[in-house]
Each structure stands twice: as C-alpha cells, then as structure tokens.
C-alpha cells in the first residue's frame, strides 16, 4: 500500500507544505535569492546549499518540508528518491553554454557543469538525509500520476523500500514547479487491487495539485 504522508508545493510565487504557506516570494526577487532567504530563515546551516543550482535548491527545500522535523538523520537504505522533471538540467545547461560560447572568453566552470545532470538534485537530497537507497530520475513531458504511481508500485513489489521522497521537480529560468511527496510504502499491507489504489492515489494527487496551497 502506498500512502501519502506529507507534501510540499513550490511554484513561482509560493512555497507551501501540507496546505499551509511557508514562504511567499517578494515581487522582483530572483528564484535564487528567494531560495537563499528561505534557507537562511529555516535556521538550518548547510553551507553546500549555496553552491547548488536552482533545481537542487528547490528539491532540497521541498525535501526539508516533507520529511519530519525530528527526522533521525541516520544512514538508511529503505528510503528512495524518485523524481520526474520536464526540463531536467536545462536551466544549468544554458549557463554552462554561456561559459563556452566564445573561445576568447572560454572558462567552463566545474561548479556549473556538475549540475548539468538532472539527477544531481536526487544526490543532494540523499546526501542531506543520508539516503543510501535507490535514487531514480526520469525526464517526462509532464507530471503523470500514472507514471509516478507505476514507479512506486515497482518499489513496493521489489520489497526493499519503505519510504519514498518523490514527485515532480522542474525549473527553467524564472519558471518553477515542484510537487514533492513523502510516501510510505507497505508491501505487506497491500489489500486493494492496484487499480483501486491507483484511482485513490490519483484523486489525492489531483486534489494536492489543484489546491491553492
């Protein structure tokens, strides 16, 4: 059985968790500055946060919201990170392109290049929360409850995973759309047929997606 425990949404204006506003972006502020301020206000001192690209920053902030505040940051192999993204790392890809466009001003940056892979955000979340389990990253045209549910179903069938940080994480320039869920996976307590479970999951996801916060 797959149960949604908590969720976090980020769009270009608001960060919300479980239906409550966490932060509103001031007019004219860049995503980068907004994320930086949210991190500073959170009281968590994590110097590597400032080195991340916007995709990783967004995923990192959302993961902070969906995991319990009193989380035991012990090594864990029963937790997976499963993310879907549309643009993947394109936002950072374009920055890397700028550093190499002109051979007379050619300074490719390792800091930028390392983020030109969509799965780095999974790695950042894994490092922060000491997740040694499965990290998966897919590129898809749009968020699909069916595709996400299928992946969670596989994890349930493989029987190694009890928790998943999963969802949609997409950033391009000033556009931002994140929906991150913490789901609990219980292989032993599956009672409903998948279709029944799926339709419940889809209903939940739709409600979360279309709720204001």
């Amino acid at each position: 059985m797959i149960t949604v425990k908590s969720y976090c949404k980020i769009d270009g204006r608001t960060i919300s968790a479980n239906g409550e506003t966490v932060s509103e972006r001031p007019d004219g502020q860049s995503l980068k500055d907004w994320f930086t301020n949210v991190h500073k206000e959170s009281g968590l001192s994590y110097p590597k946060f400032y080195k991340m690209d916007n995709l990783s920053k967004a995923g990192f902030l959302a993961a902070e919201q969906v995991l319990p505040e009193n989380e035991d940051v012990q090594p864990k192999e029963d937790t997976a990170v499963v993310l879907f993204s549309g643009a993947g790392s394109l936002d950072t890809d374009l920055q890397h392109m700028e550093t190499i466009a002109d051979n007379n001003n050619y300074y490719p940056s390792p800091h930028v290049f390392v983020y030109t892979l969509a799965n780095i955000v999974c790695g950042e979340i894994a490092i922060r929360h000491r997740i040694f389990g499965e990290t998966m990253c897919y590129i898809a045209e749009s968020l699909s409850a069916e595709q996400l549910y299928s992946q969670l179903l596989y994890l349930e069938r493989e029987r190694n995973t009890r928790h998943a940080i999963c969802g949609w994480c997409d950033i391009l320039k000033d556009e931002c759309k994140v929906l991150l869920l913490h789901v609990e996976i219980c292989p032993a307590c599956s009672t409903a047929e998948n279709e029944e479970e799926m339709s419940y999951f889809r209903k939940q996801l739709t409600e979360i997606l279309y709720s204001k916060q």
Binding site: T36, P47, Y50, K51, Y107, P108, S109, P110, H111
Partner: protein
C-alpha cells in the same frame, strides 16, 4: 600584497558561493581545505578556473593546485610571481 589578498578573498567567496562568509572572516594564513572553509574537490577545480580567468595562470593538473591552495596568503604569493594579467 594586502590589496591582492583582500581582492582574492572576495573572488574566492564569489567563485565558490561562500554565501555565509565575508572577507574578514577568512584568515589569510589558515588552510583553505580540510578544516578551514570546508572546501571540496569541486572547489579546488573552481580555484584553478579562478587563477586562469583572473590572473592568466594555467595549472596543468589538480595536483599542482594542492601546493598553491594551502592558504590565501600562499595563493596570493604565487599569483604575484606568476600572473600574466
């Protein structure tokens, strides 16, 4: 040299995104790696880019950087002797 050290501190903070730091907090003689600023292998590579971009110094490999990136003072000394811009 004092001026170069100050400039270098600012450049390091910017290049390595050390958001929480200001130049006065960096001890010019303290080790950059290990305990010091908590820098990692990507930071070391980024410092190589910094040397090339701002001072026209080309390092052949990362190992060479180890000696130069001991501290801001050592870096400044190396830059003043080897800079081409």
């Amino acid at each position: 040299m004092e001026e170069l050290i100050q400039t270098l501190k600012e450049q390091i903070i910017e290049a390595l995104n050390l958001e929480d730091m200001n130049p006065d907090e960096i001890d010019a003689n303290a080790p950059l790696f290990g305990e010091g600023l908590g820098l990692d292998s990507i930071d070391a590579l980024e410092l190589i880019v910094l040397l090339e971009k701002n001072y026209g110094i080309k390092l052949a490999n990362a190992a060479e950087g180890k000696k130069i990136f001991q501290s801001v003072a050592v870096m400044a000394d190396y830059i003043s002797k080897n800079r081409t811009k």
